[in-house]
Structure formats: C-alpha cells, structure tokens
C-alpha cells in the first residue's frame, strides 16, 4: 500500500487496471483448468468406452468364427484418423483371455497381460495402467452373445494425449490471456495517459503561473494544455475550464486590488495627517507615513519599532474599547504628543482595526490640533479679560477700601507727627498692624486677579475642584455681596481628584457664577422681583463622577432657548454686553477633560448647571509617565 500510495496518479490507474486484469485472468485460468481437466478426462473415458462398444458390436461374429484377419482390421479401424492419438492400443480377446487381434504393430509390450474376462461383468471396466512408457486408462468392454460373454474388447486410452490436449488448451488459454493482458497493458497505459496528461499539463500550467505572475498567462503551457484536451468535453476538460475561469477572475480581482492598494498607498504616503500602523497589543509601530515622520520630527526608521505610547500621553486603555465594524473610532482628543526635540503637540487620535501583513493591527490617524488648542486658549483669555473688564469697577472699589484704610491710618500718623503729639504705643501698634493688614489684603486681590487673568496653556493635572470654587468665591464673592447677592458654597470635603487644570476650572466656575449673577440682575431689572439674589455652588460625588452644581434663582432659561445656550455667539444680553462665548467656552473646557455639562431650568425661578467629570483613578498613574 505504501508502494501504491507513492505512485503517481497515472501509474495508479495503470497498475490497478493491470492488476485487476491479471487477477481476473489468473482466476479464470484456475477455474477453467479445474473444469477442463475433469471434463476432458471424463470425456476421454466416455469416448474410449464408445469406441470399445462399437468394436465389440462389430467383432461379435468374428470372435465366434475366430476370424482374426477381420478382427485385426476392426481393431485397426478403431484407431483410424485422429483416434490414433487417443487410442493407444486395442485388443480383442476371446472368453478365455486369448488375444485374437491387437494393434501392437511395433511389438507386444513386455509384462502386459489383458484384463481377464469375467462372465458377470455388465458394463465397461476402467482402470489406470502403465503400458510400456505410457500411462493409460485401460477400458475393458465385454462382448456378449445373449447373456453370456464370449470375449472382450480392451482399449488403452493414452493419458498423455489428454494431458497434451490440456497442455495445449492451457497454452492457448494462457496466450490468449497474455494477449488480453498485453492489450490491457496498452489500453490502461493509454487510459492513464488520457486521464492524467491534461492534469499534468494543468499542473505544469499552474506551476508556471505560481512562479511567474498569473495575470500574465503562460502562453506556451496554455497552448499545450488546450492541445492536450483537444475537443474533449469530459470532467477534466470542465475542470480545466473552471480553473481557467478562476484564474481569469483572480487576475481581474488582483488587478482591482492592486489599484485600490495603490490608491490607499498614495493616501497613506501623501496624506496630510500622520498615520501609524501599530500592533494591536504591543502598540509597536509597524509602519508610519512620511507625514508622521515630518510632524514628529523622527525618521521613519526610528519610528518603526517604538511604542506609540512612548510618543505621547496616551493610555493603553484608550484602545481597549470596542471598534464597530470597519469604523474609525475617536480614541482621544487633545492628546499631548512630544516631538523628537521635546516640543509638545496636541493631536486628536482616531483608530480603526485592520489586518496588516497577517497581523492584527490598528491604524492610528492623528490630527495635529496644536494650533487649534492655541486659538482656544486665546479665546478663553479674551473672554476672561472681558469679564475682568466688566468687574474692574468692583475690583477698583475692592482695592480702594484697603487703600482708604491705609490712607486713614497713615494720615492719622502724619497728623500726630505734625502736632508733635505722642502716639500711644498701643495706638501705633494698632495703626501699623492695620496698615500692614490692608496692604496684604490689597496685594492678595491683585495676586488673585493676576493669577486669574494669566493665560493658561492646555494641560491635564490632578486637581481637586474645591479650591477652584473657593478661588472664584474670593474673586467675586465680595462684589456679589455688594450687589445684594449671596454666594453660598456647599463643598464636599471628601471629593476625589480629577484630571483637569485649576485655572481652566476657575474659568468655568467663574463663567457660570457671572452668568448666574446676570440672570439674577435680569430678573430684578425685567420682572422687578426684588427678592434677594442667591447663588449656590455645590460639589458632590455621584456614582464615581465628580459633580459641580451652580444654582441661581435668576430669570431661568426659556425652553425655546435651552438648546441654543451652548452655541457660540448666542446671547440674550444687549449688544455690547456679552460676546455669547461664556457657555461655549465652559462646554469646550469641560469636554477637553472628558466631562459633561447639562442645565436644569425653570423659567422665572432659576437655573441649575451641572458638570460631571470622571474621577481620577490613581492606579492609572502607573502606566502614565
């Protein structure tokens, strides 16, 4: 079987056909041989008995008259023609066993005696004997007159004859089988070739295709193939046909693929945004486009092999999310990346999973938004300055108070000096203390303003929201009080940290607080409701989120305006009063720190803005440099 399985298909067909023929031939030969020998031997005996019977019938009268010449003639007649080959000898005896006639022309064999005649014998007796060099069936037939035996005819059937007959038949049969085998040899070889030649041709054609490029068919092999097939319409021809069609389809689809590949390659190569191909799990950069190298100041070779996470403040968790089928997903926005020269960049990161050279990869597209972030900061600053400008009167008043106190104290000391009056030590001590306290207070106010008005760059820091609220309170609390509004703080002391920036958070709270103040003023002015204004700022924790609520009892927001309040340049204030950028800036900052902002309002009764930020989990610091 091992030998067989190693053969080619052609030789398999060939060997099986031949083997089958040989086995059948051998079986037929064995069967026929068994049949032949038995039947031929039986036939020979029957024939011998028949001859002997014939001679016996003819010889009766001559035995009675003892006419030996006639008996001899009868005996020889029995051996005429081709019977001679069967009948080796024939002899006629009388009832005493004396030989009356025989056909031993060349001499009586030695030690040969005829079978004695028995009176009781009815039919023919057959026994195997050896006469001279011959092996014979000795047939003895009695000659009867009435019921008594008067003699016998004995006949020797040559077994060599039947054996030669069998041998000849066997030879003829074997030759016939050999011829059949030979014919089958050729036929099966032809058949095997007929079946396998197109297959071989097909294989050769396929090999050539594989080695070269199957979009350019191997002409020579194809011609050979079609010639081999000729006008055949069998399964092999059909197989070849479908194979050809498949190759054609494959070629055209490969063409399309190449085209699209080229297209995408050019997109990748000349696209305006840096694109990285990174490994799905190790985040190792597998490929990067020239823009990426340009933007990040690295050579392409340097980029390949390093981790994308090393380039910027990216979190591996950012990629852990679900990727909807074939969609690009925003992983993170305003992520800080660092150029090779340590310069920082802000980018938005988009990712989509793909297969790249049999690997599971993520295609990461980054958009450089550094400029945008810069513009944001300027806008925020501008809005801040506007607010400060509006507050300048109040602030001036606030600073004036310590200045007045200092003036009073210092004038008192001057007057005392001019009058050369002695100042009581306790008075002096009190005045000086007061002056010092008032200076501290004024510089505090200035410092606060300075810090508030400082232009803040975009960054993420671990901060608590409470100090921001307190800072805002310090800036505008007194002014609000002057306008008859109460700013109530309700701070949760155990609030978790968040990832944000103090200055920007202060700006958010400041904007919301000034909006609340305006709403209260508007209520007092438009409705004439003189109920005291009250602004309440609450910080709290809700389901892992850090919450900040700013409530007022101002005019509230009409429902038809509720959807528009976060749009840029939307304002309800009179021309010149506001830019309409307050709430959009709030929303922009909150979103930068992955927060949400929402409003709950009852027109005429007030509004409540709620901001939620994800609480910062210190555990994540580990993967964050």
């Amino acid at each position: 079987m091992k030998f067989f399985s190693k053969l080619t298909l052609k030789n398999k067909i060939f060997v099986s056909c031949l083997g089958f023929t040989l086995i059948v031939s051998v079986l037929i030969a064995l069967f026929t041989r068994a049949l032949l020998i038995g039947s031929l031997t039986g036939e020979l005996k029957q024939r011998g008995v028949g001859i002997a019977q014939g001679v016996a019938d003819g010889s009766r009268v001559f035995i009675l008259t003892r006419n030996r010449a006639e008996l001899t003639a009868l005996a020889y007649d029995a051996r005429l023609g081709n019977r001679k080959k069967v009948v080796l000898y024939l002899l006629i005896t009388d009832k005493t066993g004396e030989i009356l006639a025989h056909t031993f022309t060349t001499g009586f064999p030695r030690a040969f005696a005829p079978v004695p005649v028995r009176d009781t014998e009815q039919g023919a007796g057959i026994q195997s004997m050896t006469v001279g060099p011959h092996s014979v069936f000795h047939v003895s037939v009695p000659v009867k007159e009435g019921i008594y035996t008067i003699g016998s005819v004995q006949i020797g059937l040559d077994r060599a004859h039947i054996e030669s007959l069998i041998a000849r038949l066997r030879l003829i049969f074997l030759s016939f089988l050999s011829v059949v085998t030979l014919i089958f040899f050729f036929l099966s070889h032809r058949l095997a070739l007929y079946i396998t030649r197109p297959v071989t041709s097909l294989i050769r054609y396929t090999d050539t295709l594989t080695q070269e490029d199957f979009r350019f068919p191997a002409r020579e092999e194809m011609d050979a193939l079609s010639q081999t097939l000729g006008k055949r319409e069998d399964e092999i021809a059909k197989l070849t046909g479908s194979f050809m069609r498949m190759t054609g389809q494959l070629a055209s689809s490969t063409d399309r693929l190449m085209e699209s590949q080229k297209k995408y390659r050019s997109l990748f190569q000349s696209g305006p945004n840096p694109i990285f191909v990174i490994h799905r799990r190790s985040f190792e950069i597998l490929d990067a486009n020239p823009k990426a190298a340009e933007v990040f100041g690295y050579d392409r070779e340097e980029l390949i092999g390093t981790s994308l996470l090393a380039l910027g403040n990216l979190d591996d968790q950012a990629f852990a999310g679900e990727y909807p089928q074939g969609r690009s997903v925003v992983i993170s926005s305003k992520v800080t990346f660092f150029r090779k020269d340590k310069g920082a960049l802000f980018v938005n990161v988009h990712a989509s999973p793909a297969e790249y050279r049999d690997k599971d990869v993520i295609i990461v597209a980054t958009t450089d938004i550094t400029e945008l972030v810069e513009k944001d900061s300027q806008l925020i600053q501008a809005s801040k300055m506007t607010n400060l400008e509006k507050m300048s009167a109040g602030i001036a008043h606030e600073i004036n108070q310590p200045l007045n106190a200092i003036k009073m104290g210092s004038e008192y000391l001057v007057m005392m000096h001019e009058q050369e009056r002695a100042v009581a030590p306790e008075d002096l001590d009190m005045v000086l203390r007061e002056i010092s306290a008032q200076v501290t207070r004024a510089s505090e106010i200035v410092g606060r303003l300075k810090s508030f008005s400082r232009k803040a760059e975009f960054s993420r820091e671990v901060i608590s929201i409470n100090p921001c609220v307190t800072a805002v309170h310090k800036i505008i609390g007194r002014q609000l009080a002057l306008q008859g509004m109460a700013l109530v703080l309700d701070l949760d002391e155990a609030i978790p940290f968040i990832l944000a920036h103090n200055n920007r958070m202060e700006q958010v709270i400041f904007n919301l607080a000034t909006n609340a103040r305006d709403a209260i003023n508007e209520r007092i002015e438009t409705i004439g409701d003189i109920q005291n204004g009250r602004i309440r700022i609450t910080t709290f924790t809700d389901r892992g989120m850090v919450g900040l609520r700013v409530e007022d009892n101002g005019t509230g927001i009409p429902p038809e305006q509720a959807d528009a309040i976060f749009d840029s340049f939307f304002t309800t204030k009179e021309m010149g009063e506001g830019l309409g950028l307050g709430l959009p800036i709030v929303q922009g900052i909150v979103r930068d720190y992955n927060g949400t902002v929402s409003v709950d309002t009852t027109p005429g009764r007030g509004a409540a803005f709620e901001i939620f930020f994800p609480a910062h989990d210190p555990e994540q610091e580990v993967t964050h440099p």
């Binding site: 030998f3 010449a69 001899t72 005429l80 022309t105 009586f108 030879l171 085998t181």
Partner: protein
C-alpha cells in the same frame, strides 16, 4: 540502478516505438531513458513490466513450436529381419481370387530374380527369403498379413504389394512400425502424396498414366466426350481423380461416371449410364475380369467407343479374356511390353530368360516384368546398404540410386525426397488378340 537496467531500457525502446507509431505522443524533451523513468519511476514497476514481456515472448515461441506431426518419419537403426545368413522380406499380395493373376505374375517375376541372386550366393553373404502371404486382394486380410509379417515373421521390409485398397490399408502400420515398403503394384496417388520415405514407388502413377491417355484421346484423336468407369474403392477413386484432373486441363469433365463394386461383375448399371451419355471414350479403372465384362457387354450393344484401361488391369489377361472382341482396346503400361516387340531391350531379354529358368511353364507379362524390376531394385538397394544394413541405411541406399539402367530404355532414379522411380508411360493396343505397342 539495478541489474536489469540495460535490458529494461532495450524493452522500453521497442515499447516506445509502439506508442510513438500510434501518434499523438508529442516531442519529448529528454531521451528515451528519462521517458521510461517518467512512466515507470519505480524500478519495481519496471521489473514487473519486464516479467510480463518475458512471459508473452515465451508463450509466443511455445505456440510457434508446437503442431508438427509428420507422417512416416525416417526409421531408426533397426536390424529386424537381418540374420547372419538371410534377409527376411515380407509380401502380402493376391495369389488367388479374382485378382490372383496379378499377384501370381508379380511374385513369379520377382522370384525369378531373387532365386537368381540367391543362387549366386545372396547379398553380402545373406540370402533373400521372401515370405509371401495371400490376401486375395482383400484389404482386411492384407492388413492382418502385414501385422503378421511385422510382428510374427519379423521381416526387414515389405515388398511388392499388389493393389491400391490393400496397400493404402496398411499405411498406418508402416508409419507406426517404421518399416519400408518397396515396389507396389499400384499407381495410387495416396502412396505418393504426401511424400513418405517409407513408401518407395517404382512404377509411374495412375495420374501419370491417365494424364498421358487423356492427352492421347483428346489431343491426338480429338475425342472430347470422355466417360469414366471405375471400381468403387480407393483404386477407382484415385483413377477418377486422375481422369478429372487430366480432363480439366482441356476444360472438360467426364460426361458420365459408372461404377462397380470390387470383386463383383455387376457392371451393367455403370455401362448404362455411360451408354446414355454417348461417350466417345471410356477411361476404365478396374481389374481385368470386370473390365472385360464391361467391354463385352458394350460391344454386345454395339457400343464401341475408345476403351482405355490403366496398367493395373493386367493387360495380358485382359487381352486373353476378350479375344477377338478386344480389338482396339488401349491399355497404358509403365513398363515396355515384354512379349513381341520388346525383345530388343536387354532388360526384357534377361527377364524372359530368368522366368523361363525358374518358372518354365510361365509366359512373360507386364506384371511379371514389374515384379522382376522390383526385385532388381530391392537387390540393388540391399547391396548398396552393405553388410551392416539397417532400415535407415536401406532407405539411404534407395535414395542413392540414380539413373539406374534396367535395360528397358527407361532409367530409374530416386533421390532425397523423391521416392518415385520410373515416370514413363507406354501405350499398348489389343490387336488380333495380342498387345501391340503404340508408337
């Protein structure tokens, strides 16, 4: 590679030609060997193919080799019948009965010479002892006699058999016992074809006789209505075939055929048929008694075509029986007439003298002369075979006899594959009760 490499390749060559000749097998880049390897990359498969070829070739040769079974092969170095002082020769012939004349004449002619040889001291110190047995022209008795001669009498060879049916009957025995038979008084074709070295014919065949006779009748005498009257046995059939073959050369067929049964004189039916056909000539293949009766009955009915008889009829006896009515009956002969007209031949003078010496009452005859010639050839062959004679040596001696002068102006020749001694045919006509040789 294995030890079969070279023979394998040779076989593939021939095999490949078969494939190539069937066409379609297009050019192959590599040579024959690689082609063979391509088909049978495994040496085991190649060995198998080789075995198949060997089997097929062997069988083909075996089939060619079988199937030859020649009759009467050359005898071996058999010395049966040879003693220090004599050579036993056996003969079965008609010494009595309706053909008794033929055998008697034959035996007398032969014995005339054999006695002469024995009187002169025999051959190589051995006398010839001829054991003659009477078969009465009966094939059955001839067969029995022959078996007796071979088995009981242990003769060296058989000699001077008379008659076609008798001689033909013993051919199987001759072939089986491989014993030579020299000099048969019959011209039957069965004894000449197929050629059998054991059957040595001295006289010309019936075919030769009848062919010459038909030529005489058709060409010289212009007779084209030829009938055949024949004895219904091997002898008659043989003559009939000879006549038909001879007539066919002239585009003729026998106009009528009449038969009679051997040993009977019942010829009237045959005569009637021939009479009805109004034949101009009758070829008669029979014995003297039946033929004589046929001619007599014909003449009684005033029917007298040209009667022609073959030599076996026994011309002398026929002429004697017909007497005056026999005028004009033609008999072909294979020896010259021994009586009047042949006295100028030394062989005939010798025969006449010897016959007179040993059988004073007898008169020379054609049959007797044949017997005499048979004896001369027998003696010559025995002499040539030498003292250490065997049956094979005897036959070789016979084959060596070439252009042997019997003194009858008709030289005798045998040869390898040629066991027909004399070929000449003579014509005699009964004229005034005597046989006259036709010119």
């Amino acid at each position: 590679m294995n030890g079969f490499d070279i023979p394998c390749r040779v076989l593939y060559c021939s095999e490949m030609q078969v494939f190539y000749s069937r066409g379609q097998c297009r050019e192959r880049r590599a040579g024959i060997t690689s082609w063979a390897r391509e088909i049978f990359p495994e040496s085991a498969a190649r060995g198998m193919i080789l075995a198949i070829w060997v089997v097929v070739l062997t069988m083909g040769m075996a089939i060619m080799g079988c199937g030859t079974d020649a009759p009467g092969t050359f005898p071996g170095e058999n010395r049966t019948g040879i003693s220090d002082t004599e050579i036993r020769i056996g003969s079965s012939l008609a010494l009595g009965g309706h053909a008794g004349y033929l055998g008697t004449q034959m035996l007398q002619g032969a014995m005339s010479y054999i006695n002469h040889i024995n009187d002169e001291g025999g051959i190589h110190g051995r006398t010839i002892r001829l054991i003659a047995m009477d078969d009465g022209y009966d094939p059955t008795r001839c067969l029995f006699n022959t078996q007796q001669l071979i088995l009981e009498k242990q003769v060296f060879c058989l000699f001077s058999y008379v008659g076609t049916p008798t001689t033909v009957r013993i051919i199987p025995l001759i072939n089986e016992a491989r014993i030579p038979l020299l000099g048969m008084f019959t011209g039957a074709n069965r004894l000449r074809e197929p050629v059998n070295p054991l059957l040595i014919n001295i006289r010309a065949s019936y075919y030769q006789e009848i062919n010459a006779a038909v030529e005489l009748m058709v060409r010289q005498k212009g007779l084209d209505r030829v009938a055949v009257f024949y004895q219904y046995d091997e002898y008659g059939f043989d003559g009939l075939r000879g006549a038909e073959i001879a007539l066919k050369q002239y585009g003729l067929k026998p106009v009528a055929k009449g038969t009679y049964v051997r040993g009977t004189l019942d010829v009237s039916d045959g005569l009637e048929k021939i009479l009805d056909a109004d034949a101009q000539a009758v070829v008669m293949i029979g014995t003297y008694d039946s033929c004589a009766r046929f001619i007599r009955l014909a003449k009684e009915q005033n029917f007298s075509p040209l009667f022609y008889n073959v030599s076996f009829v026994g011309a002398t006896e026929l002429a004697r029986r017909l007497g005056r009515i026999g005028e004009g009956v033609v008999v072909s002969q294979v020896v010259p007439p021994p009586a009047a007209g042949g006295k100028d031949l030394p062989g005939i003078r010798e025969y006449t003298a010897k016959l007179k010496q040993y059988y004073p009452g007898a008169s020379p005859s054609f049959v007797g002369l044949e017997g005499y010639i048979n004896a001369r050839i027998l003696a010559e062959a025995l002499d040539r075979a030498g003292r250490d004679i065997t049956r094979a040596g005897f036959l070789t001696a016979v084959e060596s006899i070439r252009d042997f002068d019997l003194g009858i102006a008709n030289p005798l020749s045998f040869g390898k594959g040629d066991y027909q001694g004399l070929d000449q045919v003579y014509f005699t006509k009964i004229h005034q009760g005597k046989l006259v040789r036709l010119p």
